[in-house]
Symmetry: D2
Subunit: 329 residues, 4 copies
């Protein structure tokens, strides 16, 4: 059992909002991208990956976002459909925007980087009018990704979604997902991350992401407990702070602390760890599991994904995660 | 007595944040501006006028803002000094910005308009780093003007100021002051006005301004009581809704309602009515007066200013307002 | 007699293209603008002043430009009409642009400066489609002002006008009129000034302006003869290089050199000297006068204008200039 | 023999200026890109392809351009080096720009399209100061690509290069290469294409491209002879107008007309036809061949490239082209 309460009469389990993008993964790995000659195309973007994860875990999942009016955008919409994700609230952007691209470079399992194409991207063209109150009202939970806050009008659209979600008692998950590009300054980032976090029930981020949020109001703090507690004065019920390979720590409003499990993994690349963790963790919480059990489920899912070549395509089913946990014991 | 509590041990009474501009008032009035040949220069900008009003009323007043690095900017800084307003937190903007201009046209007492020069204005260049926590900490009250929210980085700077003000128990006044230019859309405006209003103790605006704020979340509402009540769920203690020449209505968190007094006036122009009202009303509240007495003081001040040619220069002293009220009885 | 040939059968003498703006001249002179309290409004902008000068000298004059859709724009259109300048090709810009402003500061006769408002100005919104081939075809001469080249779409509109003017045998005057603001870099400026100058018959500028044009292709040159000669390889027939109070020097394609006369003047301010010089000089050339006689006429006109408070309003008639010259002998 | 004269004492044969980009060619052809899962990376960009063609034909070739400071930029620089193209004047852009991308879609041999990523591209960041007079001075010929004119500062850099090239007697080739994206309007395009064409010796474009250039000054003209003749009044010596599969027609200043040969080809895709034509045609002219022989060489080269999967990689050697022509007889 946990301290979140989902409105069980609703038919849609989970809506993710934000980035829908394309990953172009180097086929020839363990070398610099300069020498890579071919790439394979996947759905990408943190909230997109999480939505795929949730759908694979059997949750009725929807998405709010914008895609470009081109072949990449059509690929994304069709991929969502095939994965069973409701794309009725995915808008085709007609402004001449482009789908965001992420060329991944895997020099070694621990030396991975991304070459981003994020100029004039479709996902940041999301407008307040794209946010339908009825759609949000019909769901149990909403996930927003921090990148959706990085630019107008997507920034304002996200705040509108938060408003509707609070009004209709959705449980709101905030995946900080801080990517410096597209943000103008750290101060700007901190301001909007804080305004959004005030309205969320569950906040998930790395220690570095929380540091950035505290840069103006509590500079120099590195005490996870202090960080988490601030948000319990607003609407938060659970705060998860991730410490990379040292694992995660979760706090709840009731004052309890939970340490995450770490699973061994044959790492191919580090991409996708956070997204697979988030989807399985949220899935666990939506099953009413204890926080530590949900964290274990998240960790196991992350271990599975980092052992494979893609992010979205590799998202496991609940069965696969359970098996993985059993085998690891 | 009212429901606000000011920290009396602090030395600075009041800080205004936002627009510092120039009014160029047509000397030849009651004709279209096309035929106006000479203009007189005054300090302008809603929070600037309110600060002048507060200083004339004897309050120790400071300002947070940016001015252009030119003759207009130097005039403003020097005018603040002469009026006894602390300008230590008024930053000279070196980015090549310009001081905002407002050419006023007075065709008749009831047909007034403004020709605004607001491209690349200095006041909207205010940055988060311009906001000094110590300066805000030392004051009893902060006024923010809605126009400061209209563009980055001034928008983020305003939210930083709100954060510091809440942290240090200032009473926060929010003068909605909605001016469509510089805003991209009504949705954008509504989002930021709402985010700011959530953090304020006293919210002052016209019925039209509150309508704009409710455009997304409560469209079609025209019930002042409903409007006001929303904000008492956040931090508000008093909400004032202005109905033009039909007077104002104020609500407090305790559920009381107050109707404003209306004074007769020989109207020269309508400019400056809101700013003179705000300064005298806030002054009254800071004296610990009942809300209706503060509203009467505000109305009297407004009547004095609309009978004269300028806004800032015409701001009355407490003595002048008292005299005016007595004479009007 | 000079080396220019005007098509005498045409009815319109002269068309100026470019900036239409407002001068706001400080009424209290010989002090810094910070202390100036009132301003008087005049038509301004270099090609506007030249057009006024030409019209006062009795030439049938037209204008191609854009004005803002506001009181300032309407004042300009009405001023042109009153001065007898054809404004049928002055377009009202509906994009929300503003009329350029120039606040003049006269600290002393030799210490004058201008505070410019040039963000989002109407005159630089001139579009290629605003340029009517028939209108240009009907005129004997076209003047373009360098500032019109400083930004798109006015830049392209100017090149279209140059094309039509060459096609229909107008004599093209190029007033370099270099103002650093609105230009991105010196390199950008040099490129477009050179491309335009290649197409002009008479080029008029200061030594500093020609230096800027040679920054890329002949850096360090200060030899007026070399400077002038370059343009005779293109379409130029006369090049005038101004050396401030040391007077001007003119070269013609035939290899002759002409030194300008200098008249004594009771200087009030230096603004407007160039524009009044240009209009009277061009007037002289259009009368078929020798180059040196036209230069003398220009110098006399400049002396008259710098002795008065305004630029456009002070433009003299031919009678006044002749009288001035006679009195000065 | 032809009417161009190359300065034989110079060591560099040919410099191309402009776009250096990446082609991402769908591996699974004859289907829409939505269904394409893998892509192969090639050097792309019209002047880049032409430079590769020239180098393969044995000409000492250099390049002036900018590449992004990332893996794509490093791939391009290294590809130029491997192909024997001098990259000493290829600047690494540090502004955060991206390498342009072209995803090619081959639905059928006659239904090919390109999905372009051209926001914030490195090649259009070329600056006037990147153009080294000495480098240009040392070459026999310069090719500029119209796309380099589409935006500042690349536009101004191109005009600076044209200036130096004329000054030092290079033969200037202008490949119109009109791509509507990145241009603001047809009028803007026409203005700069005309200003550039005035300074070029050989102008190569499709009938549609010449129509666009005549949109303002000679609308409705479709007479190739009239089109070509205009440019002989400036600096042009040869004008080539391409009519797609109907072949090309060339005019020279001496009044002669030349019809191009058409070779049969097993078309895989149409991309690269123009670039391979241009390189082999220019090669022929630089050998001093008659214009019609050079045109035949160009056509043969185009036929070879459209029968293969890539553009740059497929550029043929002189030997291959000669063999191809012989076999086709």
């Amino acid at each position: 059992m946990n301290n979140l309460s989902f409105e069980s009469q609703k038919t849609m389990d989970f809506i993710a909002l934000g980035r829908l993008a394309i990953d172009l993964n180097a086929n020839e790995i363990n070398k610099p991208m300069e020498e890579t000659m071919t790439f394979t195309k996947y759905l990408g973007g943190s909230p997109a990956n999480i939505a795929v994860g949730m759908s694979k875990l059997g949750m009725k999942t929807g998405f709010i976002g914008r895609v470009a009016d081109d072949q990449m955008g059509r690929f994304i919409a069709s991929y969502l459909d095939k994965t069973g994700i409701d794309s009725s609230n995915v808008v085709i952007d007609k402004s001449g925007s482009k789908t965001g691209l992420a060329f991944t470079e895997i020099k070694s399992p621990t030396d991975c980087s991304i070459l981003m194409y994020r100029d004039n991207v479709a996902d940041l063209k999301l407008e307040p009018k794209d946010i339908k109150e009825e759609y949000i009202k019909g769901a149990k939970a909403l996930l927003i990704s921090g990148t959706a806050l990085s630019k107008s009008p997507s920034r304002e659209a996200t705040f509108v979604a938060l408003d509707y979600a609070r009004k209709h008692n959705l449980v709101i998950f905030f995946d900080i997902d801080y990517r410096p590009y597209t943000w103008v300054s750290e101060e700007e980032t901190a301001v909007y991350y804080n305004l959004a976090a005030e309205k969320c029930d569950v906040i998930i981020g790395t220690r570095e992401e929380f540091d950035m949020m505290e840069a103006l109001t509590n500079p120099g703090n590195s005490d996870d407990y202090v960080t988490a507690n601030k948000w319990f004065d607003y609407n938060a019920k659970i705060v998860v702070i991730k410490h990379g390979k040292d694992g995660s720590i979760a706090y709840n409003k009731e004052g309890e602390t939970f340490k995450g499990t770490i699973f061994p993994a044959k790492v191919v690349k580090t991409f996708g760890a956070g997204d697979s963790y988030a989807s399985a963790f949220i899935y666990g919480l939506m099953q009413g599991w204890d926080i530590d059990k949900a964290m274990e489920f998240g960790s196991a899912s992350a271990s599975i994904v980092i052992s494979s070549h893609s992010c979205s395509d590799a998202m496991p089913t609940a069965e696969q995660i359970k098996l993985y946990i059993e085998k690891s014991r």
